[in-house]
């Protein structure tokens, strides 16, 4: 079963001892509130005494046999608290659909999506908004509002928008707070959008309780900001937040994530530690390109060569 491969991260956090329990499928679904969910419930009988905390602290997201109208078919997946997940795959592999489903914005046709131990159907849009955030791929705005005004509508901390220093360090947006949104360059606009989506749940992210879904956040960013963002995401995850992001930069993603999810044609081909997922066989069969992969101590060097079909 694929879930067994799922990596257990060695984290300094206090709960790392208990992660083995969490990895056993049965012990997850133990939040008393969620008995409503019909399909998977063999858990309550053998849950440990602190099961409530277990469910809350460990598995943030859980997917079971989820199917979305011929675009997504995922057997079983979960993301743990504090996990940094990068999702890679060719165009149309279902990465965005997966993120939207996990964010509760697309309803799965079949199967279970659980967020913080509660089935997605029990969450309302309003309560979700305080728990998770989403950066969608295209967001259009024909209105010529200033960046500052724009951000202020989404920031939870009312009044003057103060970009938290951590965000500012990676995204560097305060330079164009007074500029008009539509006059920014593509990359600048993208930085503002990332900032907006993170500000939505900033208090939660600061406490290490946030969940963020970022759909291709690297799109349009220059190389420095790409790595700055990847570091920011990693930093936030180390604080206890759970972040899932899609990416087309395999070389970057493999080195900045806790787990790598590899998707193809709506299915999850492989997931787990990047060293196990980003193998030559996996990547070549999914991306149809030649890859040169070399492992260093702490670093996975991945180079893309020519597409196979062009030869």
């Amino acid at each position: 079963m694929k879930l067994k491969n799922f990596s257990t991260q060695q984290r300094p956090d206090s709960f790392s001892n208990q992660q083995k329990n969490a990895d056993e499928e049965d012990s997850i679904n133990t939040n008393p509130k969620q008995n409503v969910s019909g399909k998977d419930d063999d858990a309550d009988s053998n849950c440990p005494a602190n099961s409530h905390n277990l469910a809350d602290n460990h598995t943030v997201l859980r997917l079971q046999n989820v199917k979305v109208a011929s675009r997504l078919w995922v057997e079983g997946l979960r993301a743990k608290k504090g996990e940094c997940v990068h999702i890679i795959g060719p165009n149309g592999a279902g990465k965005s659909t997966l993120l939207l489903t996990l964010a509760g914005l697309i309803e799965a046709d079949e199967g279970n999506v659980m967020l913080l131990g509660k089935p997605m159907s029990n969450w309302s849009l309003a309560t979700l908004a305080n728990v998770r955030t989403l950066l969608a791929q295209q967001s259009e705005s024909g209105f010529h509002l200033s960046v500052k005004e724009y951000l202020s509508f989404y920031a939870t901390a009312q009044q003057d928008v103060l970009i938290p220093p951590v965000l500012e360090k990676a995204l560097e947006v305060s330079g164009f707070l007074n500029k008009i949104l539509t006059q920014l360059s593509g990359g600048e606009r993208q930085r503002v959008e990332i900032c907006r989506s993170l500000l939505q749940i900033w208090p939660q992210l600061e406490r290490g309780e946030g969940i963020a879904f970022l759909d291709e956040p690297l799109q349009g960013l220059d190389i420095r900001h790409q790595y700055a963002l990847a570091s920011l995401v990693k930093f936030l995850c180390d604080k206890g937040n759970t972040i899932l992001m899609t990416s087309h930069d395999i070389a970057l993603s493999a080195n900045y994530c806790d787990s790598l999810w590899l998707m193809q044609k709506g299915c999850m081909v492989a997931f787990g530690k990047p060293q196990k997922v980003a193998t030559q066989t996996n990547l070549e069969s999914v991306f149809e390109c030649h890859f040169a992969i070399s492992k260093h101590d702490n670093f996975l060097e991945i180079q893309v060569c020519a597409p196979i079909s062009l030869e």
Binding site: S139, F143, S197
Partner: protein, 325 residues
């Protein structure tokens, strides 16, 4: 930044209040000039001029705030109650009633007309929304469907023109260009609360509307049920505009002009923009009504005045590059 914004808000509020004061003073001075029997004077003030001013304020507020709301909900700066077809349904019903009502029923036309227009506005909104949802499900589709509906009703009105007599034609032309002189206390007592309620509801949407600026997914992610909001906002706008149209005919441009000019001054925050749109729209139409009252010549069609004032203003704003796409 917030400092300048606060100043701007205060400035707009002061201007608006000042014009309202000028309006009241103006109306008193206009009526105060004549020195005939006191009874007649009082009758004119109470029965004609106060309803006129109130109608102008209500209609102006309804059109401006609905324009502001529609522009955000449909994420299109071009949206205007007139352009997206809410008024065209009302116009069609008005044309049908004015041109086809048999002789014996003309006595009731005064009350039949507002009622018919109101129903027409709601009906056309309903059709537009259904059509848009079925076809594309996007906000641009609402505008396209609106244009289709207004073109169609424009064509029907043009056909009706061909088969009607001169008197009916004159009535219709007048109605299609807007007139504030058709109200009385009875119509006001029905229309007033309707518009007040619709304005209040739109103010209530302001916070959610702000989140639409980043697009549908971002709004949903931050907790706004976009479909529900769109549906509710469209219904509320249709009620506001429908009521306004049935009280004063179709008045062009106010819904497009006022919010755009205000955005240049106070920015895009709907919490300020919506109430100030309502206030500015009210004072704008009141000034129009007043100027037409002051001239005392013929009663000017309102659209004529608003378009004459608004056209150049909008072109100026466009040329300055302040309003784009």
């Amino acid at each position: 930044m917030t400092g300048t914004k606060r100043t701007a808000v205060t400035l707009v509020v002061i201007t608006v209040l000042l014009s309202l004061v000028i309006g009241v003073v103006g109306i008193v001075s206009v009526t105060g000039l004549s020195d005939t029997a006191a009874d007649l004077k009082q009758h004119i003030i109470v029965q004609l001029q106060i309803p006129l001013i109130l109608t102008a304020c209500l209609v102006g507020a309804a059109l401006s705030i609905s324009g502001a709301t529609l522009q955000v909900v449909l994420r299109n700066p071009l949206a205007d109650p007139g352009i997206i077809g809410i008024t065209s349904g009302a116009s069609l019903v008005a044309a049908l009633l004015l041109l086809l009502t048999p002789q014996w029923a003309t006595a009731y036309l005064h009350y039949l007309l507002p009622l018919g227009c109101f129903i027409g506005a709601l009906l056309s909104t309903f059709i537009i929304y259904r059509l848009a949802r079925k076809l594309l499900g996007s906000s641009t589709a609402v505008i396209l469907a609106g244009i289709a509906i207004s073109t169609l009703s424009g064509a029907v009105i043009a056909w009706l023109y061909m088969f009607s007599d001169a008197n009916a034609l004159r009535n219709l032309t007048f109605w299609l260009m807007g007139s504030l002189y058709q109200t009385n206390w009875l119509i006001l007592s029905v229309g007033g609360p309707l518009i007040a309620a619709a304005v209040a509801l739109q103010l209530y949407f302001a916070g959610d509307l702000n989140k639409l600026y980043a697009g549908e997914l971002a709004a949903k992610s931050s907790g706004v049920d976009v479909e529900k909001l769109t549906e509710r906002a469209l219904i509320v706008c249709a009620i506001a505009v429908g009521t306004a149209v049935s009280m004063a005919g179709s008045i062009a441009f106010v819904g497009l002009l006022v919010p755009h000019i205000l955005r240049l001054i106070i920015g895009h925050n709907n919490r300020y923009l919506l109430p100030l749109s309502a206030l500015s729209g009210a004072s704008l139409l009141m000034l129009v009504a007043l100027s037409s009252e002051m001239t005392r010549a013929i009663t000017l069609p309102v659209s004529m005045v608003t378009a004459t004032l608004g056209g150049p203003l909008l072109i100026w704003a466009l040329a300055k590059g302040q309003i784009k796409g």
